[in-house]
């Protein structure tokens, strides 16, 4: 029996969390204004959108898939919802429309990936193009105003001192965490990512599980679109451009492997915060935009390297 090595195991398990804390410490040191309640609330509000997307993306990636369509999904769901709001004046209908569009795109992705057995990368690249296209056709390239007190509350309101979008995303993480860890479906998500064939031969309905995973991801993209248009009080046809990469980056920074089967939504939240804190910090430090990409690349590389180093010292072999 080996002596337990609690310190190393904790470092290994929570490596990225420590790196996040180190970033926060360093930024606080460089700019004292960084370390304030209001700035933390700001960061949380900003992380909400990528956070919600990344939660769904985590599920997809855990099965070994990928969803590139989330950005297009955010745009289409947001614009349809804003359109519904303008024509009905009812914000609840608008929200249902947004979630419905997200769900639909998720179902299309899920159908082609799991039942038609097409590669997820290409399927979701195609639905990304489709979603962007339909958004442009629908809006003719123009933003749509979102004029509703309910949306104002969703985007900018507070509940018990916590910004509403933050609350929403916290609930999302609790639910997704629960689903992944405590339900049959969640268990299968991990198992399919680990070995799809073995699952199939254990009698698991692999197709339905994979389908559902894309539906979740689409639904959460619809939810993100609500938060986004509530923040801006307008729906942008170009919304969500490049969001897929940010979401995937958060998932992978959070320790979920692109090949599936390993990781979790807790890590993803840390990953999303690393990205959000970095962007906020660079703005606060007023780093020249020309140098921001350099800083971003360097910090991400340093973070994964450090995390890897924690793992290696913890590894037995």
């Amino acid at each position: 029996m080996l002596a337990p090595r609690p310190v190393i195991d904790i470092l290994r398990r929570y490596g990225m969390t420590f790196i996040l804390l180190a970033m926060i410490a360093a930024l606080s040191f460089m700019n004292p204004r960084f370390f304030s309640v209001s700035n933390f609330l700001t960061i949380m509000r900003q992380v909400a959108i990528n956070g919600a997307l990344a939660a769904g993306m985590t599920m997809v990636i855990l099965t070994g898939g990928i969803d590139l369509s989330v950005g297009g999904n955010v745009a289409l769901a947001g614009c349809f919802a804003a359109g519904a709001l303008q024509s009905t004046g009812n914000p609840w209908i608008a929200i249902v429309v947004a979630l419905g569009v997200g769900l639909m795109i998720g179902m299309v992705n899920g159908f082609f990936v799991s039942y038609a057995k097409l590669p997820p990368f290409i399927v979701t690249l195609a639905t990304l193009a489709l979603a962007r296209g339909f958004t442009l056709v629908y809006t003719e390239g123009r933003p749509i105003l979102v004029d509703s007190p309910i949306f104002e509350v969703i985007g900018g309101g507070f509940l018990a001192g916590v910004p509403v979008p933050v609350l929403i995303v916290a609930v999302v993480y609790l639910i997704v965490g629960f689903v992944l860890n405590r339900t049959k479906f969640g268990r299968l998500v991990y198992a399919i990512g680990g070995n799809e064939q073995a699952c199939r031969l254990s009698g698991v309905n692999v197709e339905r599980t994979k389908m559902l995973v894309y539906v979740w991801c689409g639904l959460l993209a619809g939810l993100s679109s609500v938060i986004l248009s509530a923040r801006l009080l307008s729906a942008q046809p170009t919304a969500g451009t490049g969001y897929e990469l940010d979401a995937i980056a958060a998932v992978i920074l959070g320790g979920t492997s692109l090949s599936g089967g390993e990781g979790g939504v807790g890590g993803t939240l840390v990953g999303a915060f690393i990205i959000g804190v970095l962007a906020n910090g660079l703005n606060l430090l007023n780093v020249s935009p020309f140098y921001q990409d350099v800083a971003k690349g360097a910090v991400i590389l340093a973070a994964v390297l450090m995390d890897k180093a924690f793992h290696s010292t913890a590894d037995a072999r």
């Binding site: 029996m1 080996l2 405590r182 339900t183 049959k184 479906f185 268990r187 299968l188 991990y190 198992a191 990512g193 680990g194 070995n195 064939q197 073995a198 699952c199 199939r200 031969l201 254990s202 009698g203 698991v204 309905n205 089967g261 390993e262 037995a316 072999r317």
Partner: protein, 506 residues
Amino acid sequence: MGDKEVDPILSMEGICKSFPGVKALDGVDFSLWPKEVHALVGENGAGKSTLIKILAGVYKMDSGKILVEGRPVDISSPRQAQEHGISVVHQEFTLVPQMTVAENIMLSNMPSIPGLRSLVDKKTMVYESEKILNGLGVDIDVFAPVRLLTMAEQQIVEIAKALSGKTRILVMDEPTAALSNVEVERLFDVIRTLVSKGIAVIYISHKLEEVFRISHRITVLRDGRVVSSSPISEVTRNEVVKQMVGRELTTMYDRCKADIGGPAMEVKGLLLDPAGEPISFTVHEGEILGIAGLMGAGQIQLARALFGIGRTYGGEVLLRGRPASLSSPSKAVRSGVGLVTENRKEEGLVQLLSVSKNITITVLDAISRRGVLSSWMEDRIVTEKIEELDIRTPSPKQPVMNLSGGNQQKVVLAKWLAVDPDVMIMCEPTRGIDVGAKAEIYRLIGGMAKNGKAVLLISSEIPEVVGMSDRVLVLHSGRVVGELMGDECTQEAVLRLATGGSVVGA
């Protein structure tokens, strides 16, 4: 013959290796002399594979040293092991499924075009790999992608691969687990030839009968320690078993036959091949029906077809007299059919997941309420199965990939025993399982039958099929060539039918 006067070609001294929660090797000394076949035996989880993985540069030892020809060496990667002339057939296959047989065999020694070091010489590659395969007496298409081969064929490719380089020390970790008698004989011929050329062999197997035939020296490991190491002539099989498992084993296939009930599964005119012959048979409640045949005779294909994998071209299957649609594994499971696959790594287990999650993957509905899992119910099943099958793991939370090969196999069995299906199809259920645990597994299979379940037992170990089954169906190139029952069911009779002979007196 191992000759103590000569210096050992390999000495491993005081090897220790720990994994979190397990001390896999605890001061193991092991020496290997030129021209000897040195058997390494021990229970599942005794540390055999770990020892040879250290030798192969896969794991780093915690302490101890390795001497090759008396000189201390540092083996920290498989490549370094190869440079010392150490070739290994690992217990789990290390093949690239998409590549051809020839490319796999020559993977680490790709021949190049003379003068153009970086260009592959495909002709030589094909020639060399065919030569090795011919030496093993098998006829496998070297242009076929490995993923299309049967397990037995893959096992042979794996062995051929180890023979492709300039080897001084050949290590084989259960090379015959997936082989039937004919191929084992060929392999032994090859081993004898190699030994006569001065190569030393480490041979790991749970098939003691083989061990006693091929080896010169035997070392028994138990809980990571060497229990004994002696020339084979100085020990008996019973002594070895006793050293391994700490008790004597009397009977293997001891089971009180169950009452045979009505038909559980009736297969009528099943066509596995559009040009083949229809297969029909019935297995009853409480019956163990053995299915025997040589490599490639189609047993596995039949088993898979009954579980909804692979295409069939006609025929029907009745379960308890009612027509059943077994078009996919999930439908099969829902209709009460289970399948223990022969390939535990690719098809049996989710390597990243824990022992407990692998065991319960087949019974998630039973341990959840409205989709929410009950950890209490899960723990109960898992604890029960781990005890029942004596799965050696530091904790149920251990990822299955960290278990020894035999213990992984037990997990595969556990997940199907947890379902307890009406018709249990088992392909090579005891592959890689030690002699002690085998008896226990046979008892469990017998228990299933006793509870009125039907079992289809498919195995390349004819004694196992003959010993366990109430009735044996023999297949030969995709056809049912005979059915043996009671006294007429002997190893010789099965073998004769399987090789194309006919039933005596029939």
